[in-house]
């Protein structure tokens, strides 16, 4: 089959690789009909997250048709499914608490030692990510093997187009959980850093959960426009002092909740960010948490910090004093995708959520490397790239 493989920093290629096979009784094989490039893929593209190996197949946002099933799969050949990017067994302690992204059992045992050393606990398994998360081949390919196919994939009713439901695989539930983690109360003002796909879904979700105002922060005018379409007020951090603006917009109380949907590669010519970039490029530090620092400083006393943005290692100058003295609460994590699927699918069906507005490019899978380049370098207008195997160029 054809697949998008990683070979190093800014080097991804289309290659012909062996087809995946059923390896375990609960497996299924899915023939991909649509798959997307995510901000998390950019962290891999930029080689910020360790333990990728040359030849790894990327992609964790995908859907398609069931073409083969193991004896314990509950799926049937021919069904259309969206697959969560989190690989979860459904029966361990964490899955029993619906903390699916903390599942104990997806990551092969031999793979868990390094994660245990780095994080104190082995990481859970994800598709198309790193070897810390299992080294599972991803879905930017013609075919993919899906473990625990009786727990993860959600069957899509006939008549719902791919584009409407594809983002159930990650960014829609991620934006939703980001808003849920912000524990929004009636009348709240919520500030969202980053108007990428995750931030834009967080904006929509925050309003659905009763936010009175949402303030969206980015430097790409087109992305800010999209946030404004859903009713957000916007701050362009290149034109405006974000902290000062937030204070003025909230009577100096600060937003009740803040959401960091930027993650470890914050942009911007801020003093702390430049120092972080130098440290990261010389391996003295790792992540660039500019947005997170600013969010903590701006958040009101007793407020809530929600972090869907991905971090991988250590943060310098984390304002923990402010965090403690202001009595903040933080919630974060990879998304417990499986937990949100039935409700979000229903909301899409009822047209309560707009899921297609952010798709800026539809490309044949063969053009995936160009897709990565665009999503990386033309972020203003390239808001989301969907890849379709077999599509005419």
């Amino acid at each position: 089959m054809r697949a998008l493989t990683w070979h190093g920093k800014h080097d991804v290629r289309m290659e012909t690789v062996p087809d995946p096979e059923i390896l375990n009784p609960r497996d299924a094989i899915i023939k991909i009909t649509s798959t997307a490039i995510c901000g998390s893929d950019l962290h891999l593209y930029d080689a910020y997250i360790p333990t990728l190996q040359k030849g790894d197949i990327l992609g964790h946002e995908f859907m398609g048709e069931v073409v083969d099933v193991g004896p314990k799969s509950t799926l049937k050949k021919g069904q259309r499914v969206v697959v969560p990017f989190t690989i979860s067994c459904g029966s361990c302690f964490h899955c029993s608490k619906q903390q699916f992204s903390a599942c104990d059992n997806g990551n092969p045992a031999d793979n868990q030692d390094l994660g245990q050393q780095l994080y104190g606990e082995p990481m859970s398994a994800l598709f198309g990510y790193t070897h810390l998360t299992g080294g599972y081949p991803g879905g930017q390919a013609e075919l993919v093997r899906v473990p625990f196919s009786d727990v993860g994939p959600i069957v899509i009713p006939d008549g719902m187009p791919d584009d409407d439901v594809l983002f159930l695989s990650d960014i829609l539930p991620t934006g939703w959980m980001a808003a849920e983690n912000a524990q929004i109360e009636h009348g709240d003002t919520v500030a969202v850093w980053g108007c990428g796909p995750v931030g834009l879904f967080a904006v929509q979700s925050a309003f659905k959960m009763g936010a009175h105002r949402v303030i969206a922060i980015d430097h790409f005018p087109h992305r800010l426009e999209l946030a404004a379409k859903f009713g957000a007020e916007t701050i362009n951090f290149e034109e405006t002092d974000t902290y000062h603006a937030l204070m003025e917009m909230t009577g100096s109380i600060g937003p009740d909740a803040v959401i960091d949907s930027v993650g470890l590669e914050a942009h911007g010519l801020f003093g702390d960010n430049i120092v972080d970039q130098i440290k990261a490029s010389t391996f003295l530090g790792t992540d660039r948490p500019h947005a997170l620092r600013q969010a903590i400083l701006a958040c009101r006393k007793g407020g809530r910090v929600s972090v869907p943005g991905v971090y991988g290692g250590f943060l310098d100058k984390f304002p923990f004093g402010a965090f403690m003295e202001k009595g903040l609460t933080m919630k974060t994590g990879q998304t417990h995708v499986q937990k949100y699927l039935p409700k979000l699918l229903e909301m899409i069906g009822n047209k309560e959520l707009d899921t297609t507005f952010l798709i800026s490019h539809r490309l044949p899978l063969e053009q995936a490397p160009e897709g990565y380049k665009m999503f990386k370098s033309e972020q203003n207008t390239c808001t989301k790239v969907v890849l379709k195997p077999g599509m005419e160029a």
Binding site: P25, G55, F93, D104, P108, Q112, P137, P147
Partner: protein
């Protein structure tokens, strides 16, 4: 034996206390506990049939059950295969199984305990392994380098046991992407 409480002796900073679990006076003792969301009777029963151990213990070449208390083990080690006959020294259904090598290439013994965790937290399964590294410290170094160190292996084996008991399968990945052929 009901709930498991307190820190086990093998994590003690006191070397003598650490070794108190060595049934044969072995030099190295290693223990590891995992929680498994299955009843302890079921976990005990699977483990008590020693022939099952090869399904999740990677370095076992074979375990031949000789009678109710004896089994013959063939295990891959850093410098080839090792063999011994193990004798069950303690057996309390649903609670504990202990064994020790009667004779053979490597002095070793083991013990597996099944206890109820706090409500909703499954069964705490604790494996304690005592062994005399073949060729002493140098053997241990080689074993670590080749990742056949019993400590590393037993942790991984316990994870596989947990996966098998909780999910009915052992997580694995082939890498169709490993050897691109174009």
């Amino acid at each position: 034996m009901s709930e498991v409480r307190g820190a086990p002796s093998y994590v003690s900073k006191d070397k003598d206390l650490q070794k108190s679990e060595a049934q044969n006076g072995e030099s190295t003792v290693w223990g590891h506990t995992v929680s498994i969301m299955r009843p302890r009777e079921e976990l005990y029963a699977y483990w008590r049939d020693f022939a099952n151990l090869a399904t999740f213990m990677q370095n076992i070449v074979s375990i031949e059950v000789l009678d109710q208390t004896r089994s013959h083990w063939t295990v891959r080690g850093p410098n080839g295969e090792y063999q011994w006959t193990a004798l069950v020294t303690e057996d309390r259904p649903g609670e504990v199984i202990a064994w020790k090598a009667e004779d053979g290439d490597v002095k070793n013994s083991g013990r597996i305990e099944f206890r109820d965790g706090p409500p909703g937290h499954g069964t705490y399964v604790r494996a304690i392994l005592a062994y005399q590294p073949p060729m002493g410290a140098i053997g241990k170094l080689i074993a670590t380098l080749t990742q056949k160190e019993p400590q590393i292996q037993s942790n991984r084996d316990l994870r596989r046991f947990k996966q098998l008991m909780e999910t009915g399968e052992i997580a694995t990945t082939t890498q169709p992407n490993r050897e691109p052929y174009s």
